[in-house]
Amino acid sequence: MANIMLDVNGWQTVLNFETGEPVEDLNDLIMEDMMKITPALPYPGDTNPESVDWTVDVALAVSDYYNPDFIMLAFSTQQIIKINEQLTPEESVAINERIFKQVTRFLEKTDYEAMVIGMGGMQDIKGVIDQSKLSTGLTSTMCAYHYAGLFMSRENDADVIKNMEHIKYAITKDDFKAAHPEMKDAYYGMLPDYLLMSSDGYVFNEMGKRGIVHKKTPRMMHELPVYTTLERPNHILEVRGILERAMDEGKKVALIMLEGTGTEDFKFPYNMMGNQTEWFVHDQGLSQYLAVATGKPFYNYDYPPIVNSVNYLNTSEKYPYSQHFSVLPEDTIGRRPDKRTAAVGTRSGFIHETTMADICVECHSRQLSMSGVFVLVNDPKDV
């Protein structure tokens, strides 16, 4: 059985992962130990640069305790800060350098083989997509910056979409199905009538941001920089296989995901790997985490890139503390039964929702407001 623990500034509660119900009789040694570890590691906050160091502090604590064969470290602080704050050029350089310094600290203190992926740089927003001629509002989320969906479409929307500026690609639900007949029924059911992809740097979501003015937006990256001491991936979907083969050879592997870091900021020697499957370019964030954790293309996930917020809100009964998914991926690197796995970092929710590692430690934040530290202990191997 899997349990989660929430540590809100030292106040701790343990809950059943699937139901969210309190666990009365905790018979979970690993969780008991995690409850001793987290109070010393309070999360500094989404826009606090110290959260970069926190990721490594937590990763080292989990490595010391559990000695995982696979560990993912997710650094989102740079992206979050650059979206929400106007940085000086010096501050911008400093946050990126801090990340590489901390990654180096982790690699020097441990014996992991590394796969470090720059998930993409940041840029000024080039413009906002004008959606005023559509019959209803587009749905977009912070999980997919260049994507939006039109649900409840009406007859003339097809023509409007054809003529909308800065739309790089648009596909109807039926065309999507025809192209990917193997997708799950639930995936098809959740697809919007039209899925739209904007041109690089153009954003959709102006009305859903509670008035927060974004300062930057992620670049659309057709290729990503990657540094590794392992076999070199040519494509993001090859990452999982390479890490698994290395573990088969008895190596310990660390997958290090750097949000907000593109080629211009990448401080280690790197090669480029593909970040696109057919027309779909993995946006910085969720789809990239799913790509590396599952090794599968976007149409084989449990959710499409954009879901109707109503569907999403209606499916929250299972795994209620997982912020995005109520169906979790079954086949991930973190679920590998013969290896110990862990995932830590500052990207709330995505870390456990994509890896499903034995131990996940992440911040628990919503809308930049920090609610503590989230720990998942998920079917661990004997310590």
Partner: protein, 320 residues
């Protein structure tokens, strides 16, 4: 010429009022940007929070910018208090808003995000359009309205969440920039007769054990069935460097206050076990919720027989 929407009663002939959202136009007080909105999005009603109105309903949350108070722990300071460059409102008519709400699956429109008093005429216009289409309408307010405005609001809204941040004038003056709590206390009484109301109190360090109990007694005196939300605030805005509040100590106070008010909730932190609605008669869990923190309580399930507890038959004040 004075604006009479809130108790500041600003003289607008001398320029901007405190909130900056009204002007004198053709001899009348008018909104600077009528029917213009900063944001709309869809949430479960529990996130507003409303716990005794339409449990589990999807609502369209909508708002503008500006406020007539200046709380030093405002969680929406980027809209309410600070003018951010590039922050623009978008004109959307009442009819179009309602269509967007229905397309989004909403059963209600809720004016939240910022203080409804600073866009009251637009809120009323949109509320009427929503009611005409069969949607329910609610809002959040700090309660610092004039009697006339409170009356208008109460007549147009189905449910209202009023923030009562303290019971003392001194707290209001020091931390919110408002001269007195008295108009708010007056309006809670008045609004409770016109609409379904819930009360919310953000808990910060200055709110003592005694004060929590005093607020509970005040609410109970108005109507003991009013749901009361105690919100544990994570230090924010001007208080960002403060130590976070001790949840364990608050729990003890909440348990004591429960003896005064039957429907008391303590949340805004992940994992709270004080967000379910229990029958005050037999303790049966009527509405299950999970608290994911940062205003997020998720609806789980409801076990009620109409408006009655299925176990003991007690009448429970919940708008279904």
């Amino acid at each position: 010429m004075n604006c009479n929407y809130c108790e500041w009663r600003c003289d607008l002939s001398k320029g901007n009022g405190i909130c900056g959202r009204y002007i004198v136009s053709n001899g009348i007080i008018a909104e600077k940007e009528p029917m213009s909105w900063i944001s709309y999005y869809f949430y479960r009603i529990e996130e507003m929070p409303f716990f005794h109105a339409l449990p589990g309903a999807i609502v369209m949350q909508i708002g503008t910018k500006g406020c007539n108070a200046s709380c030093d722990y405002c969680v929406n300071a980027h809209i309410a208090i600070k003018e951010e460059p590039g922050q623009t409102l978008k004109p959307i008519t009442g009819k179009h808003l309602v269509q967007l709400a229905i397309d989004g699956g909403a059963g209600a429109v809720v004016f939240a995000i910022n203080e409804v008093t600073v866009f009251l005429p637009s809120a009323i216009e949109a509320a009427r359009a929503a009611h005409e289409a069969g949607l329910k309408v609610g809002c959040l307010t700090n309660g610092y309205l004039t009697e006339e405005s409170a009356n208008m609001l109460g007549n147009e809204m189905d449910f209202i969440n009023i923030s009562l941040k303290s019971i003392s004038d001194e707290f209001y003056q020091k931390n919110l920039g408002l001269p007195s709590v008295k108009p708010i206390l007056r309006n809670i009484k008045a609004l409770s007769k016109l609409a379904h109301i819930e009360v919310l109190t953000p808990i910060v360090h200055e709110i003592t054990h005694d004060e929590v109990l005093k607020i509970a007694y005040f609410i109970a005196d108005v109507d003991e069935n009013i749901p009361w939300h105690l919100f544990r605030l994570q230090p924010t805005y001007k208080r960002v460097d403060e130590n976070p509040l001790d949840i364990g100590a608050m729990i003890k106070i909440v348990e004591q206050a429960k003896k005064i008010l039957p429907f008391i909730y303590f949340g805004n932190f992940a994992g709270s076990q004080w967000v379910n609605t229990r029958c005050p008669g037999c303790g049966h869990v009527l509405v299950k919720r999970v608290c994911i923190g940062s205003c997020g309580s998720k609806f789980g399930s409801i076990d009620m027989d109409g408006n009655r507890c299925p176990k003991c038959g007690k009448n429970i004040p919940v708008i279904r």
